[in-house]
């Protein structure tokens, strides 16, 4: 009876036969943990609206202001302006993610829908490249990037971010593709649907949520990347993480400005992640292991 009554309540499957008090108590615990986890971020948001004096003393005498946001976005102290860093990040992240997906989708097709012989070994190869420490290949890349005048360009970061995200993207899209019922593809084949149309009208609609989740993870990892960015890409082609770091000052108070810069740098990805969280969970459950 109880179990049947709970059938409609999604996401409470473990709570079979629980008292109302338990439900409220566990809900409260979840809320407390949520507040604890968000606290450092929430505090930084608050700090970003303070004056520098209040921020450094962690006090709250002078009220809230958006002045720090305009300070950092018009800052002239560093060589790197917000608009330059933002444009660089945007271009690098979008171009690299689009190319990653263009490479990953056909590869996933060849691994899941019409598997090549030994597809499992091929998948292993892609994943195994993630086990190679980045440092093991960075010097040759650095030396050759120097030789070919690629240091300090967007191109070198785009290429490296594709390599960085491709294994994960192939792994995830392959699992989403393997969710597509074979009967649908075969039915489309019998109807004489071309390969391109099969992809467009049969496979992609079913795998779309998963593909979106995959692309989002690629965007997150590329937007937040810092190691390659500081090593290979300084001056004119610097990205957002470098711009944030540039707001750490050794002279004078900088905490409020740094907080404002941090929030500006993280906001795009945070908003995208918030909007797509359900899809991400569904994506992972749909095929993370298939």
């Amino acid at each position: 009876m109880i179990a049947l009554g709970r059938r409609e309540r999604r996401g409470s499957r473990l709570g079979v036969g629980e008292s109302r008090a338990t439900v409220i108590a566990l809900g409260t615990v979840a809320w407390l943990i949520g507040m604890l986890w968000i606290f450092p971020v929430a505090w930084t948001v608050l700090t970003s609206f303070k004056t520098e004096q209040d921020a450094s003393a962690q006090t709250f005498h002078n009220g809230l202001t958006v002045a720090r946001y305009s300070d950092v976005s018009h800052s002239t102290t560093g060589t790197l302006s917000l608009s330059t860093a933002f444009t660089n990040s945007l271009v690098i992240v979008l171009v690299s993610t689009i190319i990653v997906m263009l490479l990953a989708l056909p590869a996933a097709y060849a691994l899941a829908i019409r598997p090549v012989p030994k597809w499992r070994d091929v998948l292993f190869f892609f994943i195994s490249t993630k086990f190679l420490p980045i440092v093991a290949s960075i010097f040759p890349i650095y030396v050759y990037a120097q030789k070919w005048n690629l240091i300090g360009t967007r191109t070198i970061l785009i290429v490296l971010y594709i390599a960085m995200n491709l294994p994960l993207a192939i792994w995830m899209t392959r699992s989403f593709f393997s969710e597509v019922p074979r009967e649908l593809i075969e039915a489309a084949e019998i109807d004489g649907t071309s390969l391109f149309n099969q992809l467009r009208s049969v496979i992609l609609p079913i795998a779309a949520p998963g593909i979106a989740a995959t692309a989002l993870l690629c965007v997150i990892f590329a937007w937040n990347e810092y190691f390659y960015a500081i090593q290979l890409n300084f001056a004119g082609a610097s990205t957002m993480p470098q711009w944030v770091i540039g707001n750490v000052s050794t002279r004078g108070n900088f905490l409020a400005k740094l907080s404002a810069a941090s929030m500006i740098a993280c906001l795009p990805v945070i908003l995208a992640g918030w909007a797509a969280q359900k899809r991400m969970i569904r994506g992972l459950s749909m095929g993370a292991l298939k």
Partner: protein
Amino acid sequence: MTAAEATLRGRVGDPFSSPWRRRLPLLPALVFTIAITQLPFLVSIYYSFTNLKDRTQSIIPEPTKFVGIDNYKAIFNDPFFRQAMWTSVKMTVLAVVLSLVFGTLFALLLDRKFFGQGIVRTLLITPFLLMPVVAALIWKQQMFSSLFGILDKVLAFLGLNSVAWISDHPLASIVTVLVWQWTPFMMLIMLAGLQSQPSDILEAAGVDGATPLGIFRQLTLPHLRRYLELGALLGSIYIVQAFDAIDVMTGGGPGSTNIPYFVYQESIGGGFRYGSASAYAIVVVIFSIIIATFSLRVLSGLLKDEERA
């Protein structure tokens, strides 16, 4: 019917009938990955047998010459390298295990209906979305700092002595930040696992009078095992490469220099000795291959499970 069977078995008129045509969609990704990840690695192996240094960084550039296995011999007499290896192991294991444990617990809490469920989930995933650099800066400047830090203010409020968090406990400080960021990722994977449980079985168990704890141990935990393994695998791939938090919070040091940071300092981070740094990197790769072999065995277990299912 016969046409369907033909498509299934013989693939008559199938544009992908020849194996090479099937491989074609795979080639761009494969060629790119080999060119960008495998070729530089081969060059690294070559460098590791030379005394290559960055010419722009020295006053009198030394000619690059072949030094045999000298670089490798030096590694085994280097106590700092051993220390960095040990730090790497501790950092990765601690961060992966703790974020898996927290992630699982939080997922169990969130996989039930309560007021504001969606908001709490949103709060919890946010740290994973932050730039690692920003996460490290927030913790360094706002939480741990002896000048502005909240933690010291709380200690003072409780009448306790202040603690020099980062300088006295560098490893614990960095692991804290890593766990804070990776717990949400593990939580997402575990939530995915919980939500993929077939609910009719759970309901049947409930009707049959199974206790919540019994259901959890007999049904949920075995179902989650594969998701735990996936979380551990993905988590360790990323956490073993941790660089940002170390660079921002401590800039290296006895307790916090892990392998990536060590090799970085040896090479482009100031040493500019590409030859010997490559040798270090190759040794790390050999260790990684050993660890990866075990992990990939886990992975192949995952894929075989799927085939049986």
